[in-house]
């Protein structure tokens, strides 16, 4: 029998995502992919997958899944809420950032997220989803990718790869969730000349509130009205994930993974890639303040963060380590080789 997870409850908006669909923006195809790429990578690392394997992105309310495989390893990241596993008449709570091997018949519940908007559930071997334009990511607006281009529904069967049986002990990572501390770093521009210097000051000195109008496409912020000096229409140009456009309302919109590829509103700034995962976790009602950094500094920060992530993954420890008398010998490179099999790509 083919290994799978059966969806008993789909959750609020659970989608299959990978790192995104690259190479087709010139044809108007949005990237999609995990909103919090860092947590997505860590979830894959914990179950022994290459970093880009398809996993579930769970929004606010998680799914209930039944394991239909001899053994699979799961890991939840992007939240501190524990995974609930019911098996053999017992229910246990498994901390986030920890792998857990489960057997056929186990019921897995991702709890309602109380500390984050999005969490990631990875499965050893990855979800077996046919790639569309090179990616498994779900793009619901266009209706392709993932499971028929839509969020999960009750009764869906998520097929797993044949090689889903885990190797070695379950691993745990130091929980690396950065709480939204309210500071989001940006590189100003490219249409800075569409805003008065007073408006740029306001942009950088306001505690912006994340509105309820926040989804995979973008986050609308609420605060003082920013004023345009040269109107609010530009000849459409390219957008990056994290670009902050300001339409006629004067209220900024941060564009995220499902964003359009080009746009006709002036962009006051772009969130640096190091801080995009924070926006993936940010919930409506939270407040944030922007801090300007140079493009060069943004690149330094990205490289530092990437090195730190790799360092943390290399220091993953077996779950039983804390109970053992001397597990130091197991904590070297050898144990975790293969966890991060293509991290340099």
């Amino acid at each position: 029998m083919m290994a799978s997870l059966i969806v008993h409850q789909p959750g609020l908006y659970t989608t299959v995502q990978d790192a995104g669909r690259y190479g087709h923006q010139r044809f108007g195809v949005p990237l999609a992919g995990a909103l919090d790429l860092e947590s997505f990578w860590l979830a894959n690392a914990l179950v022994g997958n290459p970093w880009n394997d398809a996993a579930l992105e769970v929004r606010m309310l998680g799914p209930v899944l039944e394991v239909c495989a001899d053994a699979v390893r799961l890991a939840l990241t992007g939240t501190k809420c524990p995974l609930k596993i019911a098996r053999a008449g017992r229910e246990e709570r498994v901390p986030a950032y920890q792998g857990i091997t489960v057997e056929r018949g186990a019921m897995v519940t991702v709890p309602p997220l109380t500390d984050s908007a999005n969490a990631y559930l990875a499965v050893s071997g990855g979800l077996a989803v046919p790639p569309i334009l090179g990616s498994a990511s779900t793009l619901t607006r266009a209706g392709f990718g993932g499971i028929d281009g839509r969020a999960l529904a009750s009764g869906d069967v998520l097929h797993l790869h044949d090689d889903c049986e885990p190797d070695g002990p379950d691993l745990q990572l130091r929980d690396d969730v950065l709480a939204l501390n309210g500071r989001i770093r940006v590189v100003l521009g490219p249409q800075l000349d569409y805003f008065s210097s007073a408006s740029i000051d306001t942009f950088l000195q306001t505690d912006w509130e994340i509105s309820n109008d926040a989804d995979r496409m973008g986050i609308r912020l609420v605060g003082p009205q920013l004023e345009h000096t040269r109107g609010f229409n530009i000849a459409s140009d390219g957008i990056a994930t994290g670009s902050i456009q300001v339409p006629g309302s004067g209220q900024p919109i941060i564009l995220l993974a499902d964003r359009q590829t080009t746009g006709g509103y002036p962009k006051i700034a772009t969130v640096i890639s190091t801080d995009l995962p924070l926006l993936g976790r940010a919930r409506p009602g939270e407040r944030l303040r922007f801090e300007s950094v140079s493009a060069d500094r943004a690149i330094e920060l990205r490289r530092e963060r990437w090195a730190r992530l790799r360092h943390n993954v290399a220091r993953a420890t077996p779950v039983l380590a804390e109970r053992a008398i001397n597990m130091d010998a197991l904590q070297g490179e050898n144990l975790v080789s293969g966890v991060w099999s293509s991290g340099d790509d």
Partner: protein, 243 residues
């Protein structure tokens, strides 16, 4: 004389090379030229590039590339314009300008001081240039519209524009590949699919292509609508050298 382009960072993952702030063919030709040169150069760390009316946005991996290095490479490319073998294609896109397929035709006629038939004639009489693809998968920005048809966007944008709608606004024409909100004037409908995620490349049109609109009646529209993406594509694409 051409102006020097501006190099504008979009955060730490992209660089926009901006040639102008306006929409014109000469500017767009520079964008398309640089895009071709950049792709040919296959610079390590460049993920993809997105040509628009007036600029080229280059997405890159900040772990291996940075703005200064990329700017230097692009500057060299600009100094030696890429001699691309022309890949431009010419398309004949059938459009039915009839009844409910053209809900804004009478409005456009009134605002432009023409009768509806004259609007259709003006729209279908000339070739259009594909400036860029964006907003929705496969959506082309086509120009330039005849002066008489240059109208601002609708005051009340529609929540739902049907797929295949042929529309005009702000000196340009477009075709909506998907149902979506939209503020342009709908003056016809095409049975041609502009995008298929199962095809490579997924978009029918590409920047630099030429498009002619060919009026068809409802019977012909229905016949064409029943064809597959591939069949329609080969019907619409003019053989090379006949344009």
């Amino acid at each position: 004389m051409t102006t020097e382009p501006k190099f504008l960072p979009l955060g730490d993952t992209a660089l926009t090379v901006e040639f102008a702030e306006t929409i014109d063919r000469a500017t767009n030709a520079r964008v398309i030229g640089l895009d071709a040169g950049l792709r040919d150069a296959a610079i390590d760390g460049v993920i993809e590039s997105v040509p628009t009316f007036r600029s080229l946005t280059i997405h890159f991996n900040p772990i291996t590339l940075d703005h200064a290095t990329l700017t230097a490479r692009v500057t060299v490319l600009l100094a030696h314009p890429f001699d691309a073998i022309s890949m431009e294609r010419t398309w004949r896109i059938p459009v039915c300008y009839d009844g409910d397929y053209a809900p804004d035709l009478s409005d456009v006629a009134e605002q432009s001081g023409l009768d509806p038939l004259a609007v259709v004639e003006r729209h279908a009489q000339q070739p259009y240039f594909v400036y860029m693809i964006g907003f929705l998968p496969g959506l082309p920005y086509l120009g330039d519209l005849p002066k008489e048809l240059d109208l601002p966007r609708r005051k009340n944008p529609r929540v739902r524009v049907p797929p295949g709608s042929v529309a005009i606004a702000a000196g340009l024409s477009t075709i909506y590949p998907y149902e979506s909100p939209g503020g342009w004037h709908l003056i016809g409908r095409t049975p041609v699919s502009l995008f298929s995620h199962l095809q490579a490349p997924p978009s029918l049109l590409a920047p630099g292509d030429t498009v002619h609109f060919e009026p068809v009646d409802r019977a012909e529209f229905a016949r064409l609508e029943s064809l597959e993406f591939d069949q329609l594509k080969s019907l619409c694409l003019e053989p090379e050298g006949t344009a």
